[in-house]
Protein backbone atom coordinates (compact mmCIF):
# COMPACT_ATOMS: atom_id res chain seq x y z
CA UNK A 1 0.00 0.00 0.00
CA UNK A 2 1.29 3.46 -0.88
CA UNK A 3 1.27 6.75 0.97
CA UNK A 4 2.73 10.24 0.47
CA UNK A 5 6.21 10.89 1.88
CA UNK A 6 5.06 14.29 3.25
CA UNK A 7 2.43 15.48 5.75
CA UNK A 8 1.90 18.83 4.00
CA UNK A 9 1.92 19.93 0.36
CA UNK A 10 4.20 22.95 0.60
CA UNK A 11 5.82 22.67 -2.81
CA UNK A 12 6.76 20.20 -5.52
CA UNK A 13 10.38 20.52 -4.33
CA UNK A 14 9.51 18.48 -1.23
CA UNK A 15 7.83 15.62 -3.14
CA UNK A 16 9.34 12.53 -4.75
CA UNK A 17 8.53 11.13 -8.20
CA UNK A 18 6.67 8.29 -6.39
CA UNK A 19 4.51 10.88 -4.60
CA UNK A 20 3.61 12.49 -7.92
CA UNK A 21 2.74 9.14 -9.49
CA UNK A 22 0.56 8.25 -6.47
CA UNK A 23 -1.25 11.61 -6.73
CA UNK A 24 -1.82 11.02 -10.49
CA UNK A 25 -3.09 7.48 -9.92
CA UNK A 26 -5.50 8.67 -7.22
CA UNK A 27 -6.59 11.64 -9.38
CA UNK A 28 -7.45 9.23 -12.22
CA UNK A 29 -9.89 7.48 -9.89
CA UNK A 30 -11.36 10.79 -8.71
CA UNK A 31 -11.75 11.95 -12.32
CA UNK A 32 -13.99 8.93 -12.86
CA UNK A 33 -15.93 9.85 -9.68
CA UNK A 34 -16.58 13.45 -10.78
CA UNK A 35 -18.04 12.21 -14.04
CA UNK A 36 -20.69 10.08 -12.30
CA UNK A 37 -24.31 11.26 -11.98
CA UNK A 38 -23.62 11.75 -8.24
CA UNK A 39 -20.14 13.25 -8.01
CA UNK A 40 -19.53 12.88 -4.32
CA UNK A 41 -17.78 10.41 -2.01
CA UNK A 42 -18.14 10.30 1.79
CA UNK A 43 -14.42 9.84 2.66
CA UNK A 44 -13.83 13.19 4.39
CA UNK A 45 -17.18 13.60 6.12
CA UNK A 46 -15.42 14.03 9.48
CA UNK A 47 -12.78 16.50 8.24
CA UNK A 48 -13.02 20.30 8.33
CA UNK A 49 -10.93 22.34 5.90
CA UNK A 50 -10.28 26.09 6.03
CA UNK A 51 -9.47 27.89 2.79
CA UNK A 52 -7.37 30.92 3.71
CA UNK A 53 -6.87 33.26 0.80
CA UNK A 54 -4.68 36.24 1.64
CA UNK A 55 -4.47 37.00 -2.08
CA UNK A 56 -7.07 37.12 -4.85
CA UNK A 57 -8.05 33.91 -6.55
CA UNK A 58 -10.98 32.72 -8.63
CA UNK A 59 -10.34 29.32 -10.17
CA UNK A 60 -7.94 27.94 -7.55
CA UNK A 61 -10.30 28.84 -4.72
CA UNK A 62 -13.36 27.45 -6.53
CA UNK A 63 -11.45 24.33 -7.54
CA UNK A 64 -10.26 23.63 -3.99
CA UNK A 65 -13.72 24.30 -2.55
CA UNK A 66 -15.37 21.99 -5.08
CA UNK A 67 -12.74 19.27 -4.46
CA UNK A 68 -13.34 19.52 -0.70
CA UNK A 69 -17.13 19.37 -1.12
CA UNK A 70 -16.89 16.42 -3.53
CA UNK A 71 -15.00 14.62 -0.73
CA UNK A 72 -17.77 15.57 1.76
CA UNK A 73 -15.48 17.73 3.93
CA UNK A 74 -16.88 20.67 5.88
CA UNK A 75 -15.48 23.86 4.39
CA UNK A 76 -14.93 27.33 5.77
CA UNK A 77 -13.64 30.19 3.66
CA UNK A 78 -11.59 33.16 4.65
CA UNK A 79 -10.53 36.17 2.60
CA UNK A 80 -7.95 38.55 4.02
CA UNK A 81 -9.83 41.62 2.79
CA UNK A 82 -12.78 40.99 5.12
CA UNK A 83 -10.85 39.79 8.18
CA UNK A 84 -9.02 40.85 11.31
CA UNK A 85 -5.77 40.77 9.31
CA UNK A 86 -6.75 44.33 8.43
CA UNK A 87 -6.75 45.10 12.18
CA UNK A 88 -3.16 43.92 12.58
CA UNK A 89 -3.56 40.25 13.52
CA UNK A 90 -0.54 38.05 12.71
CA UNK A 91 -0.74 35.04 10.39
CA UNK A 92 -0.07 32.57 13.22
CA UNK A 93 -2.72 34.17 15.46
CA UNK A 94 -5.27 34.14 12.65
CA UNK A 95 -4.62 30.49 11.87
CA UNK A 96 -4.52 29.38 15.51
CA UNK A 97 -7.90 31.04 16.06
CA UNK A 98 -9.29 29.13 13.11
CA UNK A 99 -7.72 25.88 14.32
CA UNK A 100 -9.32 26.39 17.75
CA UNK A 101 -12.61 25.79 15.92
CA UNK A 102 -11.39 22.19 15.28
CA UNK A 103 -10.14 22.57 11.74
CA UNK A 104 -8.03 19.67 10.39
CA UNK A 105 -6.53 21.07 7.18
CA UNK A 106 -5.55 24.49 5.89
CA UNK A 107 -5.42 25.46 2.23
CA UNK A 108 -3.57 28.76 2.03
CA UNK A 109 -2.69 31.30 -0.62
CA UNK A 110 -0.42 34.08 0.55
CA UNK A 111 1.52 36.88 -1.19
CA UNK A 112 4.75 36.07 0.68
CA UNK A 113 7.05 33.27 -0.53
CA UNK A 114 7.54 30.67 2.22
CA UNK A 115 4.32 31.54 4.08
CA UNK A 116 2.98 27.96 3.83
CA UNK A 117 6.30 26.51 4.98
CA UNK A 118 6.39 28.91 7.94
CA UNK A 119 2.83 28.00 8.89
CA UNK A 120 3.54 24.26 8.77
CA UNK A 121 6.18 24.76 11.46
CA UNK A 122 3.96 26.88 13.69
CA UNK A 123 0.58 25.14 13.76
CA UNK A 124 -0.76 21.62 14.19
CA UNK A 125 -2.67 20.97 10.96
CA UNK A 126 -2.04 19.69 7.43
CA UNK A 127 -1.11 22.61 5.18
CA UNK A 128 -1.66 22.78 1.43
CA UNK A 129 0.07 25.60 -0.38
CA UNK A 130 -2.33 27.16 -2.90
CA UNK A 131 0.34 29.63 -4.03
CA UNK A 132 2.90 31.57 -1.98
CA UNK A 133 4.03 34.76 -3.72
CA UNK A 134 6.44 34.06 -6.56
CA UNK A 135 7.60 30.80 -4.96
CA UNK A 136 5.43 27.71 -5.65
CA UNK A 137 1.93 26.70 -6.74
CA UNK A 138 2.18 22.92 -6.41
CA UNK A 139 -1.37 21.87 -7.28
CA UNK A 140 -1.21 23.90 -10.51
CA UNK A 141 2.01 22.12 -11.54
CA UNK A 142 0.47 18.75 -10.68
CA UNK A 143 -2.64 19.39 -12.76
CA UNK A 144 -0.52 20.73 -15.65
CA UNK A 145 1.70 17.63 -15.64
CA UNK A 146 -1.34 15.34 -15.22
CA UNK A 147 -3.07 17.01 -18.20
CA UNK A 148 0.12 16.69 -20.25
CA UNK A 149 0.46 13.03 -19.33
CA UNK A 150 -3.12 12.40 -20.47
CA UNK A 151 -2.24 13.81 -23.90
CA UNK A 152 1.39 12.76 -24.33
CA UNK A 153 1.64 9.59 -22.23
CA UNK A 154 4.75 9.11 -20.05
CA UNK A 155 6.55 12.47 -19.84
CA UNK A 156 10.03 10.89 -19.78
CA UNK A 157 12.00 12.58 -22.57
CA UNK A 158 9.09 14.80 -23.66
CA UNK A 159 9.95 18.43 -24.44
CA UNK A 160 7.93 21.02 -22.56
CA UNK A 161 8.32 24.77 -23.03
CA UNK A 162 7.27 27.34 -20.44
CA UNK A 163 6.81 30.67 -22.15
CA UNK A 164 6.18 34.13 -20.69
CA UNK A 165 6.70 35.85 -17.36
CA UNK A 166 8.97 33.29 -15.69
CA UNK A 167 10.41 35.83 -13.25
CA UNK A 168 7.17 36.45 -11.34
CA UNK A 169 5.62 33.01 -11.81
CA UNK A 170 5.15 30.46 -9.03
CA UNK A 171 3.54 28.23 -11.67
CA UNK A 172 6.81 28.19 -13.63
CA UNK A 173 8.95 27.13 -10.67
CA UNK A 174 6.55 24.37 -9.56
CA UNK A 175 6.23 23.19 -13.18
CA UNK A 176 10.01 23.01 -13.57
CA UNK A 177 10.34 20.86 -10.43
CA UNK A 178 7.44 18.57 -11.42
CA UNK A 179 8.39 18.12 -15.07
CA UNK A 180 12.06 17.47 -14.27
CA UNK A 181 11.05 14.94 -11.63
CA UNK A 182 8.95 13.12 -14.25
CA UNK A 183 11.87 13.04 -16.69
CA UNK A 184 10.76 15.74 -19.15
CA UNK A 185 13.10 18.22 -20.83
CA UNK A 186 12.15 21.79 -19.99
CA UNK A 187 12.93 24.97 -21.89
CA UNK A 188 12.03 28.45 -20.68
CA UNK A 189 11.34 31.18 -23.20
CA UNK A 190 10.91 34.87 -22.36
CA UNK A 191 12.51 38.27 -22.82
CA UNK A 192 15.76 38.38 -20.82
CA UNK A 193 14.20 40.83 -18.36
CA UNK A 194 11.56 38.20 -17.38
CA UNK A 195 14.03 35.32 -16.86
CA UNK A 196 15.47 34.86 -13.35
CA UNK A 197 19.27 34.84 -13.15
CA UNK A 198 20.92 31.39 -12.84
CA UNK A 199 17.62 29.60 -13.63
CA UNK A 200 19.65 27.12 -15.75
CA UNK A 201 20.96 25.67 -12.47
CA UNK A 202 17.56 23.91 -12.16
CA UNK A 203 18.47 21.80 -15.19
CA UNK A 204 16.44 23.72 -17.77
CA UNK A 205 17.50 25.34 -21.03
CA UNK A 206 16.70 28.96 -21.79
CA UNK A 207 15.81 30.78 -25.00
CA UNK A 208 14.61 34.21 -26.01
CA UNK A 209 13.40 33.01 -29.44
CA UNK A 210 9.72 32.05 -29.46
CA UNK A 211 9.58 30.29 -32.86
CA UNK A 212 12.62 28.07 -32.26
CA UNK A 213 11.20 27.13 -28.83
CA UNK A 214 7.81 26.27 -30.33
CA UNK A 215 9.49 24.14 -32.99
CA UNK A 216 11.52 22.35 -30.28
CA UNK A 217 8.68 21.45 -27.92
CA UNK A 218 5.85 18.87 -27.72
CA UNK A 219 3.79 21.21 -25.52
CA UNK A 220 3.92 24.86 -24.53
CA UNK A 221 2.67 26.31 -21.25
CA UNK A 222 1.85 29.97 -21.88
CA UNK A 223 2.18 32.14 -18.79
CA UNK A 224 0.44 35.42 -18.13
CA UNK A 225 2.40 38.65 -17.73
CA UNK A 226 1.90 39.41 -14.03
CA UNK A 227 1.57 43.16 -14.12
CA UNK A 228 0.40 43.21 -10.50
CA UNK A 229 3.80 41.92 -9.32
CA UNK A 230 5.84 44.33 -11.45
CA UNK A 231 7.33 47.39 -9.81
CA UNK A 232 9.43 48.20 -12.89
CA UNK A 233 8.89 48.16 -16.64
CA UNK A 234 10.26 44.84 -17.85
CA UNK A 235 9.45 45.45 -21.53
CA UNK A 236 8.61 48.57 -23.55
CA UNK A 237 4.90 47.88 -24.13
CA UNK A 238 2.26 45.14 -23.97
CA UNK A 239 1.91 45.48 -27.75
CA UNK A 240 5.60 44.81 -28.30
CA UNK A 241 5.51 41.88 -25.87
CA UNK A 242 2.64 40.23 -27.70
CA UNK A 243 4.39 40.87 -31.05
CA UNK A 244 7.48 38.93 -29.92
CA UNK A 245 6.08 36.44 -27.38
CA UNK A 246 2.35 36.23 -28.09
CA UNK A 247 1.11 32.87 -29.44
CA UNK A 248 -0.99 33.33 -32.56
CA UNK A 249 -2.69 30.85 -34.88
CA UNK A 250 -0.36 31.92 -37.70
CA UNK A 251 2.66 30.99 -35.60
CA UNK A 252 1.14 27.62 -34.67
CA UNK A 253 0.44 26.86 -38.33
CA UNK A 254 4.07 27.57 -39.28
CA UNK A 255 5.35 24.82 -36.94
CA UNK A 256 6.68 21.49 -38.19
CA UNK A 257 4.29 19.54 -35.94
CA UNK A 258 1.15 20.01 -33.88
CA UNK A 259 1.88 20.94 -30.26
CA UNK A 260 -0.28 21.06 -27.15
CA UNK A 261 -1.05 24.43 -25.58
CA UNK A 262 -1.57 24.92 -21.84
CA UNK A 263 -2.42 28.05 -19.89
CA UNK A 264 -2.86 28.21 -16.11
CA UNK A 265 -5.29 31.13 -16.36
CA UNK A 266 -6.43 33.79 -16.09
CA UNK A 267 -5.81 34.45 -19.79
CA UNK A 268 -4.98 37.88 -21.12
CA UNK A 269 -6.43 37.26 -24.56
CA UNK A 270 -4.43 39.04 -27.23
CA UNK A 271 -1.32 39.39 -25.04
CA UNK A 272 0.41 36.03 -24.36
CA UNK A 273 -2.15 34.05 -26.40
CA UNK A 274 -4.81 35.02 -28.94
CA UNK A 275 -8.45 33.95 -28.65
CA UNK A 276 -8.08 31.78 -31.76
CA UNK A 277 -5.32 29.75 -30.08
CA UNK A 278 -6.97 29.63 -26.65
CA UNK A 279 -10.16 28.25 -28.22
CA UNK A 280 -8.40 25.92 -30.67
CA UNK A 281 -8.41 22.11 -30.48
CA UNK A 282 -4.72 22.16 -29.57
CA UNK A 283 -5.43 24.07 -26.34
CA UNK A 284 -6.24 21.90 -23.30
CA UNK A 285 -7.06 24.81 -21.00
CA UNK A 286 -10.49 23.48 -19.99
CA UNK A 287 -9.07 19.96 -19.48
CA UNK A 288 -6.65 21.58 -17.03
CA UNK A 289 -9.57 23.10 -15.12
CA UNK A 290 -11.41 19.74 -14.92
CA UNK A 291 -8.24 17.92 -13.91
CA UNK A 292 -7.61 20.59 -11.27
CA UNK A 293 -10.57 19.35 -9.23
CA UNK A 294 -9.46 15.70 -9.51
CA UNK A 295 -5.84 16.52 -8.60
CA UNK A 296 -6.92 18.58 -5.58
CA UNK A 297 -9.27 15.80 -4.44
CA UNK A 298 -6.33 13.38 -4.66
CA UNK A 299 -3.97 15.64 -2.70
CA UNK A 300 -6.54 16.33 0.03
CA UNK A 301 -7.54 12.64 0.24
CA UNK A 302 -3.95 11.42 0.47
CA UNK A 303 -2.97 14.01 3.10
CA UNK A 304 -6.17 13.38 5.08
CA UNK A 305 -5.42 9.64 5.10
CA UNK A 306 -2.44 10.48 7.33
CA UNK A 307 -4.68 12.07 9.99
CA UNK A 308 -5.31 8.77 11.75
CA UNK A 309 -8.18 8.59 14.24
CA UNK A 310 -6.93 6.74 17.37
CA UNK A 311 -8.97 3.59 17.93
CA UNK A 312 -9.89 3.05 21.59
Amino acid sequence: MKTLSVDHLLGIKYLTAEDIHLIFETATHFKEVINRPIKKVPSLRDITIANLFFENSTRTKLSFELAEKRLSADVINFSAGQSSVQKGETLVDTVNNILAMKVDMIVMRHPYPGAAHFLSQQVNASIINAGDGTHEHPTQALLDAFSLQEKLGDLEGKRIAIIGDILHSRVALSNIYALKMLGAEVRLCAPKSLLPKHIESLGVSVSTDLMSTLNWCDAANMLRVQNERMELNYFPSTREYSQYYGLTLERLQQLRKEIIILHPGPINRGVEITSAVADSSQAIILDQVENGVAIRMAVIYLLASKLIIPVA
Partner: protein
Protein backbone atom coordinates in the same frame (compact mmCIF):
# COMPACT_ATOMS: atom_id res chain seq x y z
CA UNK B 1 1.75 -25.71 8.69
CA UNK B 2 0.04 -26.10 5.33
CA UNK B 3 -3.12 -24.08 4.79
CA UNK B 4 -6.32 -26.09 4.94
CA UNK B 5 -8.01 -26.48 1.56
CA UNK B 6 -11.73 -25.74 1.81
CA UNK B 7 -12.69 -26.11 -1.85
CA UNK B 8 -10.67 -27.62 -4.66
CA UNK B 9 -10.92 -26.88 -8.36
CA UNK B 10 -13.55 -29.55 -9.02
CA UNK B 11 -15.84 -28.34 -6.23
CA UNK B 12 -15.44 -24.73 -7.32
CA UNK B 13 -16.41 -25.69 -10.87
CA UNK B 14 -19.59 -27.39 -9.62
CA UNK B 15 -20.46 -24.42 -7.40
CA UNK B 16 -19.93 -21.89 -10.22
CA UNK B 17 -22.17 -23.99 -12.48
CA UNK B 18 -24.88 -24.08 -9.82
CA UNK B 19 -24.63 -20.30 -9.25
CA UNK B 20 -24.96 -19.68 -13.00
CA UNK B 21 -28.06 -21.93 -13.14
CA UNK B 22 -29.60 -20.00 -10.22
CA UNK B 23 -28.85 -16.69 -11.95
CA UNK B 24 -30.45 -17.88 -15.21
CA UNK B 25 -33.47 -19.15 -13.27
CA UNK B 26 -33.96 -15.74 -11.61
CA UNK B 27 -32.88 -13.38 -14.38
CA UNK B 28 -33.89 -15.17 -17.61
CA UNK B 29 -32.26 -13.44 -20.58
CA UNK B 30 -30.56 -10.84 -18.32
CA UNK B 31 -32.06 -8.03 -20.41
CA UNK B 32 -32.58 -5.84 -17.33
CA UNK B 33 -29.71 -7.23 -15.25
CA UNK B 34 -26.25 -5.82 -14.55
CA UNK B 35 -23.53 -7.96 -12.95
CA UNK B 36 -21.10 -5.84 -10.93
CA UNK B 37 -17.84 -7.34 -9.67
CA UNK B 38 -16.31 -5.67 -6.63
CA UNK B 39 -12.65 -4.74 -6.85
CA UNK B 40 -10.25 -6.33 -6.44
CA UNK B 41 -11.22 -10.01 -6.10
CA UNK B 42 -14.92 -9.97 -6.92
CA UNK B 43 -14.03 -9.00 -10.47
CA UNK B 44 -12.09 -12.28 -10.87
CA UNK B 45 -15.21 -14.22 -9.87
CA UNK B 46 -17.27 -12.09 -12.26
CA UNK B 47 -14.92 -13.01 -15.14
CA UNK B 48 -15.45 -16.72 -14.47
CA UNK B 49 -19.23 -16.39 -14.18
CA UNK B 50 -19.32 -14.45 -17.45
CA UNK B 51 -17.37 -17.16 -19.20
CA UNK B 52 -19.63 -19.89 -17.86
CA UNK B 53 -22.84 -17.94 -18.64
CA UNK B 54 -21.72 -17.38 -22.22
CA UNK B 55 -21.31 -21.19 -22.47
CA UNK B 56 -24.96 -21.42 -21.33
CA UNK B 57 -25.98 -19.19 -24.28
CA UNK B 58 -26.55 -16.07 -22.16
CA UNK B 59 -25.61 -13.33 -24.63
CA UNK B 60 -25.16 -9.56 -24.26
CA UNK B 61 -24.46 -9.71 -20.57
CA UNK B 62 -24.12 -6.22 -19.02
CA UNK B 63 -21.25 -6.06 -16.53
CA UNK B 64 -19.20 -3.55 -14.57
CA UNK B 65 -16.30 -3.41 -12.14
CA UNK B 66 -16.73 -1.28 -9.05
CA UNK B 67 -14.11 -0.05 -6.59
CA UNK B 68 -15.53 0.97 -3.22
CA UNK B 69 -12.40 2.44 -1.57
CA UNK B 70 -13.76 6.00 -1.35
CA UNK B 71 -16.95 4.69 0.29
CA UNK B 72 -15.35 2.55 2.99
CA UNK B 73 -16.02 3.30 6.64
CA UNK B 74 -12.45 2.64 7.84
CA UNK B 75 -10.77 5.62 6.17
CA UNK B 76 -8.27 7.17 8.63
CA UNK B 77 -8.78 4.24 11.00
CA UNK B 78 -5.83 2.14 9.80
CA UNK B 79 -2.14 2.98 9.60
CA UNK B 80 -2.18 1.26 6.22
CA UNK B 81 -3.57 3.68 3.60
CA UNK B 82 -6.51 2.79 1.39
CA UNK B 83 -5.43 2.89 -2.25
CA UNK B 84 -8.18 2.83 -4.85
CA UNK B 85 -8.39 0.54 -7.87
CA UNK B 86 -10.03 1.26 -11.18
CA UNK B 87 -13.77 1.40 -11.64
CA UNK B 88 -15.26 0.43 -15.02
CA UNK B 89 -18.98 1.16 -14.91
CA UNK B 90 -19.80 1.83 -18.55
CA UNK B 91 -23.32 0.56 -18.09
CA UNK B 92 -26.44 2.28 -16.72
CA UNK B 93 -27.85 0.91 -13.46
CA UNK B 94 -30.91 3.20 -13.20
CA UNK B 95 -34.03 1.02 -13.01
CA UNK B 96 -32.04 -2.19 -13.54
CA UNK B 97 -31.58 -5.33 -11.41
CA UNK B 98 -28.03 -5.19 -10.10
CA UNK B 99 -26.15 -8.22 -8.78
CA UNK B 100 -23.09 -7.39 -6.67
CA UNK B 101 -20.42 -10.09 -6.88
CA UNK B 102 -17.63 -10.74 -4.38
CA UNK B 103 -15.48 -13.73 -3.49
CA UNK B 104 -15.75 -13.76 0.34
CA UNK B 105 -18.47 -12.25 2.53
CA UNK B 106 -17.01 -11.56 5.98
CA UNK B 107 -18.10 -8.57 8.11
CA UNK B 108 -20.41 -7.14 5.42
CA UNK B 109 -18.71 -3.73 5.53
CA UNK B 110 -17.39 -3.96 1.93
CA UNK B 111 -20.91 -4.74 0.73
CA UNK B 112 -22.28 -1.77 2.68
CA UNK B 113 -19.76 0.50 0.94
CA UNK B 114 -20.70 -1.07 -2.42
CA UNK B 115 -24.40 -0.35 -1.77
CA UNK B 116 -23.51 3.35 -1.27
CA UNK B 117 -21.09 3.41 -4.22
CA UNK B 118 -23.53 1.88 -6.71
CA UNK B 119 -26.05 4.60 -5.85
CA UNK B 120 -23.73 7.25 -7.34
CA UNK B 121 -24.51 5.77 -10.78
CA UNK B 122 -28.29 5.89 -10.38
CA UNK B 123 -31.12 4.15 -8.57
CA UNK B 124 -31.28 0.43 -9.39
CA UNK B 125 -34.64 -1.36 -9.33
CA UNK B 126 -33.13 -3.98 -7.04
CA UNK B 127 -29.74 -5.05 -5.71
CA UNK B 128 -28.81 -8.66 -4.95
CA UNK B 129 -25.61 -10.18 -3.63
CA UNK B 130 -23.69 -13.18 -4.95
CA UNK B 131 -20.68 -14.55 -3.04
CA UNK B 132 -18.54 -17.64 -3.43
CA UNK B 133 -17.83 -17.99 0.30
CA UNK B 134 -19.90 -16.85 3.27
CA UNK B 135 -17.94 -16.69 6.54
CA UNK B 136 -20.99 -17.12 8.74
CA UNK B 137 -21.29 -15.83 12.34
CA UNK B 138 -18.85 -12.99 11.58
CA UNK B 139 -21.14 -10.27 10.27
CA UNK B 140 -20.95 -6.71 11.66
CA UNK B 141 -23.97 -5.57 9.65
CA UNK B 142 -27.34 -7.11 8.68
CA UNK B 143 -26.21 -8.20 5.19
CA UNK B 144 -26.83 -11.67 3.71
CA UNK B 145 -26.15 -13.16 0.26
CA UNK B 146 -28.90 -14.00 -2.24
CA UNK B 147 -26.69 -16.45 -4.15
CA UNK B 148 -24.17 -18.44 -2.14
CA UNK B 149 -21.38 -20.83 -3.13
CA UNK B 150 -20.45 -22.31 0.24
CA UNK B 151 -20.64 -21.42 3.90
CA UNK B 152 -17.61 -21.86 6.14
CA UNK B 153 -16.83 -21.34 9.82
CA UNK B 154 -13.56 -19.60 10.63
CA UNK B 155 -12.20 -17.72 13.62
CA UNK B 156 -12.09 -13.91 13.53
CA UNK B 157 -8.33 -13.69 12.86
CA UNK B 158 -8.24 -16.49 10.26
CA UNK B 159 -7.89 -15.66 6.59
CA UNK B 160 -9.91 -17.25 3.81
CA UNK B 161 -8.16 -16.99 0.43
CA UNK B 162 -9.60 -17.67 -2.99
CA UNK B 163 -6.94 -18.39 -5.61
CA UNK B 164 -7.82 -18.23 -9.30
CA UNK B 165 -5.54 -19.78 -11.90
CA UNK B 166 -2.21 -19.20 -10.21
CA UNK B 167 0.25 -21.67 -11.71
CA UNK B 168 0.64 -24.54 -10.72
CA UNK B 169 -2.66 -24.41 -8.79
CA UNK B 170 -5.86 -24.00 -10.73
CA UNK B 171 -8.65 -22.78 -8.48
CA UNK B 172 -8.79 -23.32 -4.72
CA UNK B 173 -10.24 -21.81 -1.57
CA UNK B 174 -8.07 -22.27 1.50
CA UNK B 175 -7.98 -21.28 5.15
CA UNK B 176 -4.95 -19.70 6.84
CA UNK B 177 -5.13 -20.08 10.62
CA UNK B 178 -4.14 -16.94 12.53
CA UNK B 179 -1.34 -18.66 14.49
CA UNK B 180 -0.03 -20.72 11.60
Amino acid sequence: MNPKILLDDKKIEIILHRLCCQLVEQHGDFSNTVLVGLQPRGTLLLDRLKLMLSGMKVMNLKTGKLDTTFFRDDFRRKEEPLNARSTEMNVAVEGRDVILIDDVLFTGRSIRSALTAIDTYGRPKSIELLVLIDRRFSRHLPIQPDYLGAQIDALQGDKVRVVWDEDPIKNIVYLEKQNA
